[in-house]
């Protein structure tokens, strides 16, 4: 017996149009808010990067690419690029390596309770400034908890170091700011410590999606732990690793709170990274045109790094 299905009522043209445009209207309020609080300031920053204040009148006048020329000719900018590169590499490598290791350990039949997760998350929920102040107190020259350790000449020859005040050693290659000052290394550790819980949990979640059966059959086929990780686990968690790397890169380049509270850019300019230089030019020197130019440059750097990360993290066959 065949039962004729009731004919579905066809929507009219107006209704169809409404259905098609509804998502747009629903998104519009949010888009407008984003435009007001994100797009406008971003565009205004680009506009400002071509302006300079006229001494005495306080008016902004169009000066073309002058701010960019000034920026590229300052020693501080070149130095801070070097410091940022060292910071970013150290920060990402340290955070990713430890996060993967800890996540792998946690996956080995360790039951992570809600309480443990809360405790693990503590560094992540603290503000950058608080973390910076606490880590600073560890190494303040006169009374820091770890200061005597670092000042020990047998551990740090020839005279020990003071993390916050020892200048960077002479550069190995002129113009390349390496090796970094102890303060920059300490800043990398503090920043990585703060972000570690988030990255760890992200990777742990990804690891838990890797099917045990696949790993077990690989082991039965004679694959070593390293081979399993390289050819099974890593490709499967790669999308999450990419997200984690995005997070680290963007946070690493743009974060200023930790530098501000831990080292204040010092000793000298040894920890003056791009974000701190931006703060310094904008809020201390009140040179908003130059600060805007630096913001534009930082945006380009951010975009480049993000696109590069995307490119490198794509599976080989999709390239």
């Amino acid at each position: 017996m065949s039962v004729a299905s009731p004919q579905r009522a066809r929507p009219g043209r107006g209704r169809l149009h409404f259905n098609r445009t509804l998502p747009f209207w629903l998104l519009l309020p949010g888009l407008l808010i984003i435009a007001a609080i994100q797009l406008y300031p971003a565009l205004f920053t680009v506009y400002l990067s071509f302006q300079r204040i006229e001494p005495g009148t306080g008016r902004y006048i169009f000066r073309g690419l002058e701010n960019f020329q000034r920026l590229f000719s300052t020693r501080q900018f070149i130095e801070s690029i070097g410091h940022t590169a060292i910071f970013l590499v150290g920060y990402c490598v340290l955070a990713m390596t430890f996060a993967v290791l800890i996540a792998m350990l946690l996956r080995q039949r360790v039951k992570v309770t809600a309480f443990a997760i809360t405790v693990i998350f503590v560094p992540w929920v603290l503000s950058d400034v608080i973390v910076g102040v606490v880590w600073r107190l560890f190494v303040v020259p006169q009374y820091g908890l770890f200061s005597p350790f670092f000042a020990n000449p047998s551990l740090f020859p020839p005279r020990g170091i003071s993390v916050l005040t020892t200048p960077p050693p002479p550069t190995l290659i002129p113009g390349i700011y390496f090796p970094p000052a102890p303060a920059l290394i300490f800043l990398i550790f503090a920043s990585a410590w703060k972000v570690l819980p988030f990255i760890t949990l992200l990777i742990l979640a990804a690891l838990q999606t890797v099917p045990n059966e696949v790993l077990e059959s690989a082991a039965m086929d004679g694959a070593t732990a390293g081979q399993s990780f390289r050819f099974i686990t890593l490709p499967l968690i790669l999308p999450v690793l990419t997200v984690a790397l995005f997070n680290l890169i963007l946070g690493g380049i743009n974060g200023v709170g930790m530098v501000f509270s831990l080292t204040g850019g010092g000793p000298g300019t040894a920890t003056e990274v791009l974000s701190y230089l931006l703060y310094s030019i904008g809020f201390a020197r009140l040179d908003f045109g130059l600060a805007a130019a630096l913001s534009v440059v930082m945006t380009v750097i951010n975009l480049t790094l993000v696109l590069l990360t995307l490119r490198l993290s794509q599976p080989q066959e999709e390239r």
Binding site: F44, G56, G58, P141, G264
Partner: protein
């Protein structure tokens, strides 16, 4: 979408947005085109308080609502809380004072508020180092009306001169504070040394067993504050300065080079601890704990913030005044080379009126009220700091204590002036100067001083 396509889209979008924005009409509210010293008053539409009184707004980094007796700015906090009712009572029916507590970024806040047409105070406390920044950004209006007030003729002419730009009075100088040396008499039994050589010799003997001859602000923290502190004290004591009198940075001089060589010796010989380079006021601790024998600093800074103290003999003092009265601490000028007076940086405090202040009449009433002798004394002791610029007020008992007497004698024995001289881009100048001197005395003590000073000059003067 391929990487190439994506990159192209992003690049094109950035370029288009840049061009659009650069060609767009200025979005910043344009300031009036008049240069430097603008016309007196603009649209004084003062907000009305209840009962027909108009509100006079001030910005201080003091908070009348903070009653914490341990707060860093407790003295100023209590002063504002105490005086708001007094002002309101004296101006009942006409003006009502409202203070908006701010953080230490007052200069940034004021400049940006004026530029963006935001809320500004009607009157604000200033430090002389802020003046060039305000002038550069057209942030304040002249206060020429003050010249007609009965209290004006009593002000120190040099202080008035420092506030005068192109013949117009741009600030009201109420107090001044010299930079000098606080030292423990236990350490320096024969008084603080008079010459650099003597300081190196005596200091070398003192810097043993965890003690140090002196402590000072030597770090690059706070965007180069050291330029106006210890660095300038030493530079000026060697007869040097930072500018050429024409607004250019002039660092490469024989006097400055000798001063930097002296600072190098101090660091190299361990006369100061590592904490002098740590920033965040860590250098103060060595003096407060009786570990450093001397502290070159601002007179007012020590009065307000150097507490409590423990002398090298182990005696506790609640504040510096108590220690001076007990002769545990004394004041002295910094060392000087032969033929030079000891140098010192001079701080000057008072009031400015923002260009877009709504209640200029209220600002005048507030300033006139503060300039009443008793109110001036209160303001200087509690909010401003230092000595009055009014000659007659210097005889007030508040400024005749042992501490003030010693400070006055030191000020008179020193050659004091604002550290920036004719330089106008102060925030930029202080950062360049501090980074350069720090680099030469700490990071690269073997670097060629003259060459580095020349590089610093070029960096600043390119912007002139």
């Amino acid at each position: 979408m391929t990487f190439k396509k994506r990159s192209l889209i992003v690049a094109s979008l950035t370029l288009t947005l840049s061009l659009l924005a650069a060609c767009a009409a200025p979005a910043v509210p344009a300031a009036p085109a008049a240069p430097a010293a603008p016309a007196a008053t603009e649209a004084p539409t003062a907000p009305a308080a209840q009962g027909g009184e108009s509100v006079v707004t001030t910005w201080y980094y003091y908070d009348q609502n903070n009653t914490d007796p341990q707060a860093n700015e407790r003295v100023g906090n209590f002063y504002i809380a105490k005086t708001i009712p007094l002002f309101n009572e004296a101006h009942a029916g006409r003006f009502k004072w409202e203070n908006v507590p701010r953080d230490y970024n007052l200069v940034l806040d004021l400049v940006t508020a004026v530029q963006s047409g935001g809320d500004v105070p009607d009157v604000m406390q200033f430090d002389i180092t802020h003046l060039p920044t305000y002038l550069l950004n057209n942030t304040i209006q002249d206060v020429e009306w003050a010249r007609e007030q009965p209290w004006f003729s009593d002000l120190d002419p040099q202080a008035v001169e420092a506030c005068t730009v192109d013949g117009k009075l741009m600030c009201i100088p109420i107090s001044e504070s010299p930079w000098l040396v606080y030292y423990y008499t236990d350490f320096y039994k024969d008084g603080f040394p008079k010459t650099p050589e003597e300081l190196l010799r005596v200091g070398g003997e003192l810097s043993k067993d965890g003690n140090y001859a002196l402590t000072y602000w030597g770090s690059t923290a706070f965007d180069g504050e050291a330029a106006g502190r210890y660095f300038y004290q030493v530079i000026s004591s060697f007869g040097g300065r930072y500018d050429d009198g024409q607004g250019n940075l002039k660092l490469n001089t024989p006097e400055n080079i000798k001063a930097i060589e002296f600072m190098r010796e101090v660091v190299k010989n361990g006369l100061s601890s590592e904490s002098v380079f740590a920033g965040n006021f860590e250098e103060e601790e060595a003096f407060k704990q009786g570990k450093a024998g001397a502290f070159p600093t601002g007179f007012f800074i020590a009065v307000r913030y150097l507490n409590p103290l423990k002398s090298p003999a182990g005696k506790d003092y609640a504040n510096i005044e108590e220690a001076v009265n007990d002769n545990a601490v004394a004041l002295a000028p910094f060392v000087a080379t032969e033929g030079n007076k000891p140098g010192c940086s001079l701080d000057l405090f008072g009031f400015v009126v923002p260009r877009t202040a709504k209640n200029v009449e209220g600002a005048k009433a507030y300033i006139n009220w503060i300039m009443d002798p008793q109110n001036t004394v209160d303001w200087i002791v509690s909010a401003g700091g230092g000595f009055p610029t009014s000659a007659s007020l210097r005889a007030d008992p508040a400024f005749r204590t042992e501490l003030y007497k010693q400070a006055q004698a030191v000020g008179e024995a020193s050659a004091c002036r604002p550290w920036f001289g004719s330089l106008r881009r102060i925030p930029e100048a202080k950062k360049i100067i501090t980074n350069t001197i720090y680099d030469l005395i700490k990071a690269r003590p073997d670097a060629d001083i003259a060459a580095e000073l020349t590089k610093a000059e070029e960096e600043y003067n390119r912007g002139n």
